[in-house]
Symmetry: C2
Subunit: 290 residues, 2 copies
């Protein structure tokens, strides 16, 4: 099996479900704005990790929790819309398309992000297949990993360090901004897959490490990547004086660090029932060009 092709199929699979879980509503501009960003492409890494983590510990009934996987992409999409705002990273282009606020204006972009966050939790709360105790635990993991002790803290630190220029806690930024959400997705998959406490810990360690590798690779691609392939401006972080792994550790050291995280991720899941796809996925993260 070629992991690149497999992930492509899985991305397509998630894409088919994304729109099933969002209904029409008023005002039209709000819903158009939400759908615009949900359908603007993307690898769908987080929902894929939820499904694959559950499969890795033996739960293949993905029809029971595809809505939960989709909810993680709603959270991710909200964070991208808000990140791109003029007051935040001020990006005009994302995945080769104008960003949400460029098309719909800042106010609607803020509200689309807010609404995508609430709808993610609404979606999980509506699931009728998974036991309530588990759904609550999943809501807790997702809110924690993406909230004030996770992603939101990382974004805030990223913004503040951009301003103050201190260099000593790039690790804090990247653990919180990226890795904790990805860790949360693998953790959610573990819960859905009825993982033992050892398996749960293994998947969390896996998620945190591929999350860090993913962020380092993102920074590397920002330095050496191709605007056309990436669908966004490169050298943007560098030019904005953002703290990135290559800017602090240099390019070669960054590549080495990313490889180390991938090795740690692969090692952590070595005893899982079905580890093949997650293992290949971890390795692919630092080989990708987009």
């Amino acid at each position: 099996m070629n992991i690149k092709d497999y992930l492509k199929t899985q991305t397509g699979f998630i894409n088919r479900y994304i729109n099933e879980f969002i209904l029409e509503g008023e005002p039209k501009e709000l819903f158009d704005s939400i759908k615009y960003s949900l359908n603007a492409g993307g690898k769908r890494l987080r929902p894929i990790l939820i499904l694959e983590s559950a499969k890795a510990v033996g739960n293949d009934n993905i029809q029971d929790f595809i809505d939960i996987a989709v909810a993680s992409e709603f959270i991710h999409t909200y964070s991208l819309i808000h990140d791109d705002l003029p007051a935040m990273d001020n990006d005009d282009l994302r995945r080769g398309k104008p960003t949400n606020h460029i098309v719909f204006g800042e106010a609607i972009a803020i509200l689309a992000g807010d609404g995508l966050q609430s709808y993610a939790f609404e979606l999980i709360s509506k699931n009728k297949k998974i036991k309530p105790e588990k759904l609550l635990k999943i809501i807790n993991i997702l809110a924690h990993g993406t909230g004030i002790y996770g992603m939101v803290a990382g974004q805030a630190a990223d913004i503040l360090h951009e301003k103050y220029g201190t260099f000593n806690d790039i690790q804090f930024i990247h653990v919180h901004k990226t890795a904790k959400f990805i860790e949360a997705c693998c953790h959610i998959g573990a819960v859905l897959g009825n993982a033992s406490s050892e398996e749960e810990l293994a998947l969390k360690t896996y998620g945190l490490n591929i999350g860090l590798a993913f962020q380092i690779q993102d920074d590397i691609l920002d330095e050496i990547g191709d605007t056309e392939k990436l669908g966004k401006k490169v050298k943007k972080d560098v030019n904005n004086n953002k703290l990135t792994f290559p800017s602090v550790y240099g390019l070669e050291e960054s590549k080495k660090l990313a490889r180390k995280h991938v090795e740690k991720a692969v090692e952590s899941i070595k005893d899982l029932k079905n580890k093949e796809i997650l293992t290949q996925l971890a390795k692919f993260i630092i080989e990708r060009e987009v």
Copy 2:
């Protein structure tokens, strides 16, 4: 019992709990920003309604669900921070104090709002006293009432009508922007109080109607209120060409409409066990000056 004094006591009660449910964290500026807005005053109407609705149907064990009441204020605070942003209502003053983005900058204000939303759901998911099925239902009611089919939709419609100037669906705006969240709080109280389906419906009807009365009174106070008492600029909505009840129906007609909603609210709960406080609270909503 004087309802004004009673509500003051209840506001103080909620205030004491607000800070217990938010821990310290990094980066400091993010947590300072969150605490700044949480402690900037306010009537704490939504948490009070959750507690009083539960009491109205016979559940006085408020220690079991004070965290859920507080969570509603986190959501309300997030919505105020985002509403005040330059791209939204562009307000410099709220409750007599500079708004969040004036003090902490737009980026941190956006993130504080995002984080308050996730933390509200995290808080509910952590409750160990209420049954998981109920907590899930509460998360569903809260996310629905404040999300893309509730408050967020109302805000979007408000922004869009400001821009386009059509006058035909002020009702949509105010039902969604204000009343659905307040309805959700009374509904949550009903669930916590083990309400029968009749009682649940009664409390929802009550919430929707006092929500509408509350919004109309807000608009009236914006026209005739006192800047010093209100702690915010008056005639702001009028000057911004916002759709308000008085601007569409006139002042006298608005007062009459508010009274009608209060009567409907009071009528809807006439068979509840302990209806006294909610009845007086409904009447107080259109008597208040702040």
